[in-house]
């Protein structure tokens, strides 16, 4: 029984982090049609901003939300500087891969210069440990497992229940028609990036609370988020959320049965196999749109 609960909690926890990251990637892809390869760096930056604010002496309840808000600004700036000028170019997908990779390298090395290579750690959301169903888990992990679905649900209702969310979904589907109903398309692009960066930053804060942070901490989560969106289909945000948890469980189970080393290889193998059968992802509908 304890094996099962181990895998269950591990999967739920990893799945939460992956979902947080993947949703942002999918949001940017569906609205703008580009892949943001600096998404992992956003995660790192969020964690470091939070760390810096805590180091300034701010209490966690102020420092963490503030860091998330600052990340929204960072996302906006990145979009305005390396994505927006390229919109309309015939090879935008390719060029944005390069500019976001380069921007990621710029930010990562900037973080290295500012904060140094030494590992840092953030305070946990909640201190302490507990035992559930025979598994020892930290309260920090439980907080993440609980908070993530709440935030994703909030995002979902923002997209589906508000006028601004409706506008974002519209831009994702038809840019010309969005112009013709008077939407501010460039601002909505900025908003998509801002939301994505905030979510990534929050994921970074979550991660910094139980693992050491360093400037390259975002690389692996970016990879996982990429797998998740490919699995779930890059054309929606609900698909990647399901896929994130599915992959979380898969990883937890594979870690247990096949070992830590083989798990990533297995994951990529499954990914490639999935794409051969269903290129548009497991949970994807065939169109591009946010839902």
């Amino acid at each position: 029984m304890s094996v099962f609960s181990d895998i269950f909690f591990g999967g739920l926890f990893q799945g939460s982090l992956y979902a947080m990251m993947a949703v942002g990637l999918a949001l940017v892809w569906t609205t703008i049609g580009v892949f943001n390869f600096s998404h992992g760096v956003f995660m790192m930056l969020g964690a470091y901003f939070a760390w810096q604010l805590v180091a300034f002496g701010l209490p966690v309840v102020i420092a963490f939300p503030l860091a998330v808000i600052v990340m929204a600004g960072a996302g906006w700036i990145l979009q305005a500087s390396v994505v927006r000028p390229l919109i309309g170019r015939p090879n935008i997908v390719l060029v944005v891969v390069i500019t976001t990779l380069a921007a990621g390298s710029l930010i990562e090395n900037g973080a290295l210069t500012v904060w140094g290579p030494r590992s840092k750690q953030l305070p946990s959301l909640i201190e302490g440990n507990t035992t559930i169903a025979g598994v020892g888990v930290s309260l920090h992990q439980i907080a993440i497992i609980v908070i993530t679905p709440l935030i994703l649900a909030a995002l979902w209702s923002f997209l589906n229940r508000t006028r601004l969310g409706l506008a974002l979904r519209a831009v994702a589907q038809n840019e010309d028609a969005s112009h013709l109903v008077g939407l501010n398309v460039t601002a909505l692009y900025g908003l998509a990036f801002a939301i994505a960066a905030s979510l990534a930053g929050l994921a970074g804060i979550f991660m910094g609370g139980y693992r050491f942070m360093n400037p390259s901490m975002g690389a692996d989560p970016l990879l996982k988020a990429l797998i998740v969106v490919v699995f779930g289909g890059i054309s929606s945000i609900s698909g990647p959320i399901f896929a994130a948890y599915l992959i979380g469980f898969f990883e937890a189970a594979s870690n247990y049965y096949f070992g830590l080393y083989w798990t990533p290889a297995l994951l990529f193998l499954v990914l490639i196999a999935t794409l051969m059968v269903r290129p548009e992802g497991i949970f994807a509908s065939r169109s591009r749109g946010l839902a």
């Binding site: 390229l86 015939p90 390069i98 990621g104 390298s105 990879l223 490919v230 193998l269 490639i272 290129p279």
Partner: protein, 335 residues
């Protein structure tokens, strides 16, 4: 897929064979004379690295620029060359020269393998699968740490030899000429390929898939041929890199190397082959010139890449062409 159609269309035969051959010979002769100017082993080391990067970048240009297939796993083919050579030469005791060629062959086979899942895919999905392929290769190498040394990598990999010549105490002159020979062969191969009928048909496929297929061009075969062709010298370059550095490390699968090489392809201007080679020179020399700046060096490089991508979408070649047109205009219209 239009998303990945890259700006400059290739026009096979725009420059006549004779003129290209003269330029080719003159250019590489000039490179062959460089050791006369650069006597110190540091400069020669930089040149050797430039040649290696130039091979990798120009071969990437074949699949990306001409084929329109964004193989994000191109550096994995390089990495496969590195590890094939290292494992064969060090652990299996195979002759280094044979191991070098084996690096190219295995990389070619790997390219054929990775083509299978992307045959039916388009655009962003090709990027994702090939990216996944690169990660898969890396993860397998890391997980087989008994053989590959895992994240530590392999050290004391045997180098190349030429009879009894001392490769280590010759001021890197032997490695310089081997690297140059590699670049010459690779470039010759690439230019012959893109100017051949096969080259014309992959460009046709890139620019108008439906039409090309209706004219009897096979998508499956051409994609496979393009990726395989782009893999051979990339794999050999990887093997040579391992022989030259005398070690193998998983760093070659990292994002930073891929970003640099891809920048070379795009800065050089896609679908030119020569552009990638020129850009390898510019970027490497630029990066070495800033060696004293530490972390700033990477930041300045990144910034430079962004600025050039924003201002000159067709890369350095576009920049040179724009300058050339401006000059030509001035010559045509005397004041």
């Amino acid at each position: 897929m239009t998303l990945l159609n890259v700006a400059i269309p290739a026009a096979p035969g725009r420059v006549t064979w004779n003129r290209e051959a003269i330029g080719f010979v003159a250019g590489f002769l000039l490179l062959a004379l460089l050791p006369l100017v650069f006597g110190d082993s540091y400069s020669r080391h930089v040149l050797i690295m430039i040649f290696i990067y130039a091979v990798v970048a120009s071969n990437w240009d074949l699949s990306l620029g001409y084929g329109g297939v964004f193989n994000f796993g191109h550096l994995a083919l390089f990495g496969i060359g590195v590890y094939t050579y290292s494992l064969l030469a060090k652990l299996a005791g195979v002759d280094p020269w044979i191991a070098l060629v084996a690096g190219g062959v295995i990389a070619t086979l790997a390219a054929v393998l990775v083509t299978i899942p992307i045959l039916r895919l388009k655009g962003i999905y090709i990027i994702l699968v090939t990216f996944g392929f690169a990660q898969l290769v890396m993860q397998v190498i890391v997980s087989q740490s008994d053989l590959t040394g895992g994240t530590q990598g392999l050290v004391r990999v045997p180098g190349l030899y030429i009879f009894d010549h001392n490769m280590i105490r010759d001021g890197k002159i032997a490695y310089f000429y081997i690297a140059l020979a590699l670049l010459v062969l690779s470039t010759l191969f690439l230019r012959l390929f893109v100017r051949s009928r096969a080259g014309a048909s992959i460009v046709a496929l890139r620019d108008n898939e439906e039409y090309a297929i209706s004219r009897g061009v096979s998508l499956v075969r051409q994609r496979m041929v393009t990726l395989a062709a782009s893999a051979f010298f990339t794999g050999i370059a990887g093997a040579f890199y391992a022989a030259y550095q005398r070690n193998a490390s998983i760093d070659v699968f990292g994002m930073s190397l891929a970003t640099i090489i891809l920048s070379m392809v795009l800065l050089g201007g896609t679908a030119t082959i020569y552009g990638a080679i020129v850009a390898s020179f510019v970027l490497t020399v630029f990066s070495e010139a800033m060696a004293d700046f530490g972390a700033w060096r990477l930041m300045i490089s990144a910034l430079l890449i962004i600025v050039i991508m924003l201002v000159y979408p067709s890369g350095l070649v576009g920049m040179i062409r724009a300058a050339w047109t401006a000059v030509a205009d001035r010559i045509k219209r005397p004041a």
